[in-house]
Symmetry: C2
Subunit: 363 residues, 2 copies
């Protein structure tokens, strides 16, 4: 055997042994013990008046259900101890975690094949959980038609519209870009992070101990869900931002300035007692590439303030005795990633970073 072949074989062996993502069978299929869906959490509101069959379409005396999350779950055979519960970001749904824009396995399939039970939610008032007990407000993410293709492309750091950044890991071609644009879905009611956290907490209470994985604006839902449930064993936050980080009263840091002030990272104060919940579990925040580009594109401008705030947030958790960290992917040699790092051509590599982190923390 030539030296380079020996080296390749050894490397393959090391990778295979070191790799935690062993599919739950060897032929690429998925073997499920069970799958299904349900609604969790929520509330009701009843309209004044008396119901009559003559006017059965009138609201009088009828009750509206809403504010629940929709949950789709899949349990593989021989599932690992802790399920992964996935919270999507703004104007997204559980689609975030399913097939990539070019039709490959997303994080749901990748982690399922690695033996994790997965729970995908549509947060309250969106997707298949569209019922709300409160009427829509004028949130930009409830607008329909949603004229935002250029904003999404740039805010999500795909590149400068209509191009991708040089070296982008996003799937190439018009079909993938169209799939990305069609992946959004509007809100059917006001965005209320406490309502969302209540439903997510109810899910953890039903399922038991598990790991929370959030994306983007879902991050802030994740930070406050430990206030309402003790079943979160760890949080993996993918590019948290676009919604407030939390800090104890009196410890609020300043956000870095940015070109477009509306894009600056935000934070809110919470009681120290609540904040301390975040010091009880390991937390990792993972950010992609093209954040520090010095140009006037809205994406890099926004995400340099968010990443800076993430470091300050981690510092604050750790100074109170917690164990939070930030992984900026280019720092560990993983480059080209946009805000949708779970959708990209190197998403298996990023899943491996998460898997390794979970293993390191015994999860």
């Amino acid at each position: 055997m030539k030296a380079w072949k020996l080296w390749m074989a050894l490397t393959a062996t090391v990778l295979a042994v070191g790799c935690a993502q062993i599919p739950n069978n060897t032929d690429g299929t998925i073997v499920l013990q069970d799958q299904g869906s349900f609604a969790i959490g929520g509330s009701t509101v009843t309209h004044d008046g008396i119901f009559s069959r003559e006017h059965f379409l009138a609201p009088d005396g009828q009750t509206a259900y809403g504010d629940h999350a929709y949950v789709f779950y899949q349990i593989p055979v021989n599932a690992k101890a802790y399920p992964l519960i996935f919270q999507h970001g703004g104007a997204q749904s559980k689609r975030t975690w399913e097939s990539t824009p070019d039709g490959r396995d997303g994080f749901a399939n990748i982690f399922l094949k690695a033996g994790y039970s997965v729970y995908l939610i549509d947060q309250p008032r969106t997707g298949e959980a569209g019922l709300s007990t409160v009427p829509e407000d004028n949130h930009p993410f409830s607008a329909n038609p949603m004229y935002a293709d250029k904003a999404y492309h740039e805010l999500c750091r795909l590149g400068i519209f209509p191009k991708l950044f040089e070296g982008s890991a996003f799937p190439k071609g018009d079909a993938a870009l169209e799939a990305f644009q069609r992946s959004w879905t509007p809100y059917n009611g006001p965005l209320d992070n406490d309502v969302n956290a209540a439903a997510l907490g109810a899910l953890f209470d039903k399922v038991g101990d598990g790991v929370l994985i959030t994306h983007s604006m879902g991050g802030t839902i994740g930070w406050r869900t430990p206030f309402v449930t003790d079943h979160i064993k760890a949080i993996v936050a993918l590019e948290p931002g676009g919604a407030p980080f939390i800090f104890p009263k009196g410890e609020m840091p300043k956000a870095l300035p940015c070109i477009y002030p509306v894009l600056g990272a935000t934070a809110v104060e919470v009681p120290l007692e609540s904040f301390m919940k975040l010091t009880q579990i390991p937390i990792v925040m993972i950010y992609g590439d093209n954040i520090y580009k010095s140009n006037s594109a809205v994406g890099p401008d926004k995400w340099q303030t968010e990443l800076d705030m993430a470091y300050k947030f981690a510092d604050c958790i750790n100074r109170h005795g917690g164990q939070a960290e930030v992984i900026h992917l280019p720092d560990i040699g993983i480059v080209g990633n946009s805000h949708f790092l779970m959708s990209e051509t190197n998403n298996q590599e990023i899943a491996q970073v998460i898997s390794n982190w979970l293993n390191e923390h015994g999860l």
Copy 2:
């Protein structure tokens, strides 16, 4: 062996041999070759003006994507030749076909275990396909909060609110009733059956030959999808109604009268050439129980006119050379079913009726 035990054993053998619904493995698990999701069909609309980064949230010069369907698919190993493509009804989503209100297997799992590939859609402008190129209208199913619990309970023939009909096959208990009420999701744009049929047709064109299964208001989408694709091999329509049946020009029948005129069955004329598409494939319409109750409840009142129209529709198809039939479940000894017959305690039995019909037609 006692005589009755021998009879039981023989019966079990006959049932096992005669039963088409053999799970794709013997331990109740589901073995998937593949699963994933994508958007299909749709259109775009571009706003006047010029996009500027300074006002990246403004619609100017930006394009809105919408009117696509969301599709979640699962392919079992050794899948049967023809996939089942499921079109939900009004204010529903693919949840219709997932877990029942009491958490048992819905039609998606049942048919997957029987070896069928399943494709579940959220129709355009709802659920996870909430983007619309046209603003919302005032359709009752886009109202949020949706004050309609009593209307839904009665229209869907669960019973007289808050009770179930005597002998109802609907899952018992408050938790199941709450799950039913939380299964709805509002429209994010105008209901447009041609837009919906276009997306569904695009799905058939992508997937190839398959069987369409519709529910309720999804029926009318099903009747017009053969206008735009030649890949529908059969239609199984579960309680079509609440949206127009179609008839050739000049052959429109009268609907039966009903107590609440707004509930009367409806029909629209289409060119004979279009209608003839429905004569090229086998079609079955399946209706549940409690349709002919002579009381003032809105559900029985509505569904007696719909079932009557279904018979007239089948007659019209057959008189033009087609092969359509109506199965009124009580006529074959299956009783207690509401409008959501896929969700009920006897849903395995109803799936068997469908499975038998598919087998009889070589599908």
